[in-house]
């Protein structure tokens, strides 16, 4: 809309031109709108929970309501915000642009993914609207199959349907990256974001069907009393946990790998340096995806799983920490002798490293069998996974959104405000979740509606932090929306970044590139720097 040339946004402004589009960029925008909608609902649930926990007594909502709030928060955040966040929004928009392709391999399948996601989302929202679900996002049996009298089936059906959207997206990415790279774009010239999306797609394709099977079995037991999980009818409740975590642990990596990819794009650009240890970062993504399939039992150390199984899962969980550490070391080394500028995407990336390191280190505590016995099922676990999923993935998503916003909309956002938002996010996040580590070690169980008075001070801190965090998320919503019409024109490459997506117009034309680009260099080939940090 910014100039008289045709771009993907000006290609049509009817409802039909959006809802029937096959353009990966428009589908990315559709996903962005959808996940923002789910994010807001799930965030309101979180806000209500934090308000309830301000006092030890359960005085704001009923315990039944509280249980529905955390279930709704978990289900919506995991399946309808985090899992599609970077892959379906930034991945959809960027994968073809980054590899010099016109679109994904199967554009109509891509649109189908969005519709499946929306149908799944409709079921989930409808289940909430008619009364909600109180099982927790984990749906543990036999509570979910025999004891809960809430709308479990409809909620599970929503997740089941949305899952097929995930599988199709993963398939689409794998084939696109495998077959549609521009001439000269060899595997080791790919941007690391593409490697991380590839690794994520492997998990989406291999793990999601297991979730579908698990939920289907749960629904069958609830409807027809098929004795799979309930011991009263011959089932085994631990079997459910194995099946559930066989999907849901790899799903944790769906929720962080793309974030790691985004950071690997931002750091070299704002350090004007080729990334340190390219191949090690690339292979660490793949090894996280593979080892991630072998650690599900670490969710079950106190479930009555065998002692020796616990030991094997503990050891493998320690091993999966190493590829993550390698990435952090390489990012740090990339800064050495760089020319660093601290625009908003870089601030988000640096904040990400801080939060991700804390999340990763506390993962070592949880992999340690004896410590896990104590902190399992407490706020320590809640804090740990929020550090990874919110501190990590959501911060990376914000960083990526700011980084590629000029490409997506053709406009710059107000830089100073964005830097402020990034700093507020870091402070608010730590204030919200760091006290929860202390709470967890003190022994406060998660998913409780009221608690012992000695836990109050940390809950007050956490709620205070959550209100700061809310500002950090609302602020970008406002100025990004404002910038769509009023921001400065960005031009094709406002960050002077390498990468094919920056070589076409902003916003890109529908066909992405006027002619298929030819790649002759590695990723992140920034020019040598003089003593002032300017390119020579």
């Amino acid at each position: 809309m910014n100039d008289n040339r045709q771009n993907y946004l000006s290609a049509g402004d009817t409802v039909g031109s959006w809802l029937l589009t096959n353009d990966h960029k428009r589908i990315g925008i559709l996903f962005l709108c959808a996940i923002l909608f789910f994010f807001v609902i799930a965030a309101v649930a979180a806000a209500l929970m934090r308000l309830e926990l301000l006092t030890p007594q359960g005085d704001l909502v009923l315990s039944e309501t509280y249980n529905k709030l955390f279930t709704m928060h978990g289900v919506l955040m995991v399946w309808f915000f985090l899992i599609p966040s970077i892959p379906n929004v930034l991945g959809n928009f960027l994968v073809p642009l980054m590899i010099g392709a016109r679109d994904l391999a199967f554009p109509r399948l891509n649109l189908l993914s969005w519709y499946l996601f929306m149908i799944g989302g409709f079921f989930a929202i409808h289940a909430i609207a008619i009364g909600g679900v109180d099982t927790g996002w984990t749906f543990y049996t036999p509570y979910s199959t025999a004891y809960s009298n809430t709308h479990v089936i409809e909620m599970a059906l929503g997740i089941f349907i949305a899952g097929f959207g995930s599988i199709l997206t993963g398939l689409n990415f794998i084939i696109t990256i495998q077959k549609m790279r521009a001439p000269g774009l060899t595997w080791f010239r790919l941007p690391l974001f593409i490697w991380s999306i590839y690794a994520t797609s492997i998990i989406l394709v291999l793990a999601t069907p297991v979730l579908a099977i698990t939920l289907a079995l749960m629904i069958l037991e609830r409807v027809w009393g098929l004795g799979i999980f309930d011991p009263k009818i011959g089932g085994d409740p631990i079997l459910f946990q194995h099946l559930f975590w066989f999907y849901s642990h790899p799903a944790v990596y769906i929720m962080i790998l793309p974030g790691l990819g985004v950071i690997s794009e931002i750091i070299p650009c704002f350090a004007r340096k080729k990334i340190f240890g390219y191949k090690f970062i690339a292979f660490s993504s793949v090894s996280i995806a593979l080892i991630g399939f072998l650690v599900w039992g670490h969710h079950m150390f106190v479930s009555s799983q065998s002692l020796y199984a616990g030991m094997v899962f503990s050891f493998l969980s320690f091993l999966v920490a190493i590829p993550s550490a390698i990435k952090v070391f390489n990012w740090t080394m990339t800064l050495y002798r760089g020319s660093i500028s601290l625009e908003a995407p870089m601030l988000y990336a640096l904040g990400f490293i801080g939060l991700f390191v804390v999340g990763g280190l506390t993962g070592l505590f949880l992999a340690s069998l004896a410590v896990d016995v104590h902190v399992h099922g407490t706020y320590f676990v809640v804090a740990h996974f929020h550090y990874i999923m919110v501190g990590g993935m959501v911060t990376a998503f914000m960083g990526g959104l700011h980084f590629w916003w000029p490409k997506i909309t053709g406009r710059k956002y107000p830089e100073k405000l964005a830097q402020l938002a990034a700093i507020i996010l870091f402070i608010g996040f730590n204030l919200t979740f760091f006290p929860q580590f202390v709470l967890g070690y003190l022994g406060m169980p998660r998913r409780v509606h009221d608690y012992a008075p000695e836990f109050q001070i940390y809950n007050v801190l956490s709620t205070a932090g959550a209100s700061i965090l809310a500002i950090a998320y609302l602020l970008p919503l406002i100025y990004l929306a404002w910038s769509i019409r009023h921001g400065k024109i960005a031009g094709p490459n406002p960050w002077r970044a390498t990468g094919l997506e920056w070589q076409t117009a902003s916003p890109p034309p529908t066909e992405n590139f006027p002619a298929t680009p030819v790649v002759v260099a590695d990723a992140y080939e920034y020019p040598p720097l003089d003593d002032h940090g300017e390119p020579t």
């Binding site: 106190v302 503990s314 320690f318 500028s341 998660r446």
Partner: protein
């Protein structure tokens, strides 16, 4: 309001777990320093516009990468071994432990000592004595968590689980259900009272007379008709249960099974699954006819006759 940072450490496990926890805290602090001291230094030194040499550094990339891949492998292996050792101790209760049964149901804990004393949402134990809890659930999964002892075990319907602890300090400590179990999950909590041995003895004696668990089990053994077949003079031929507990039992498929709590539980609820060698599968199932508490009573009884020196083996 006060700022507690660490919970009371009131058991042998708590001391061992805390030692590892403090090590992990110190280790984390080192790693954070190792990453963020250089990172923040680089942010200042190589800020765009700062005058400093930015010549291409010729670093031995491969050696650096191998170093920061391999060294962490050794470090985490050490941590794994340390944590696993404590866990192993936690999982294997000592033979002479005091035995207490715990039954979880929505939303209360019912506890019973072998002397027969019953408690609800309270647990009295003597100090410096190993205590083994046998946990059962009447409905959904619960989890029995005593933060001051650093122990936790899920209570899973359809099976027994166990956990044990040895309290080292007198006092009153909270316990919680730490596996979400429905509407009043957060109310499913209580207190452990760690008493001196005389105080514990006095507490046990205080609300007697009680039927011991084994005696309650013996009554059930008759009421449910078990004695009709399982005592020596019975008309129907069934394995005798005296002297059985803890022995290896030969099964009709040629394998052997240890007669422990799990085996006894399975044999009462699903008698056809494991048939003792030389016997017919005649026993009806007791699934649905017997509560978790009654099961624990019956097993206590079978255990008590297992200790008879005069027991006759089948």
């Amino acid at each position: 309001m006060n700022f507690p940072i660490f919970p009371a450490a009131a058991s042998t496990t708590a001391v061992a777990t805390d030692r590892l926890y403090f090590f992990l805290l110190a280790f984390s602090a080192c790693i954070i320093a190792l990453i963020f001291v250089p990172l923040i230094f680089f942010l200042f030194k190589y800020r765009r516009g700062k005058v400093t040499s930015r010549d291409e550094p010729h670093l031995p990339t491969m050696k650096i990468e191998i170093a920061w891949t391999v060294i962490p492998v050794f470090l985490v292996t050490g941590m794994f071994a340390w944590a696993a050792e404590i866990f192993f101790e936690e999982e294997v209760p000592p033979a002479n432990a005091l035995e207490i049964n715990v039954v979880g149901k929505q939303w209360m804990w019912k506890l019973q000592h072998s002397e027969g004393n019953r408690e609800i949402n309270e647990l009295h134990v003597p100090v410096n004595r190993a205590v083994k809890l046998t946990l059962a659930s009447e409905d959904v999964i619960h989890s029995f968590f005593i933060p001051a002892f650093r122990i936790k075990q899920d209570v899973v319907p359809g099976r027994f689980t166990t956990e044990w602890f040895q309290p080292t300090r007198l006092g009153v400590y909270r316990f919680y259900c730490s596996e979400y179990c429905g509407a009043d999950h957060s109310k499913m909590a209580g207190n452990v009272f760690v008493l001196s041995p005389p105080a514990y003895a006095a507490w046990l004696a205080h609300d007697s007379p009680h039927e011991t668990l084994a005696r309650a089990g013996e009554n059930l053994f008759r009421e449910l008709g078990c004695s009709g077949c399982h005592v020596g003079s019975a008309a129907i031929h069934a394995p005798s249960l005296s002297g059985l507990y803890g022995k290896l039992v030969p099964l009709s498929d040629g394998t052997f099974v240890r007669a422990d709590d799990k085996y006894l539980r399975d044999s009462i609820l699903q008698p056809a699954a494991q048939i003792v060698a030389g016997y017919q599968p005649l026993m009806p199932t007791y699934t649905g006819h017997i509560s978790e508490e009654e099961l624990l009573h019956l097993i206590a009884y079978i255990k008590s006759i297992g200790q008879d020196a005069t027991a006759q083996n089948p």
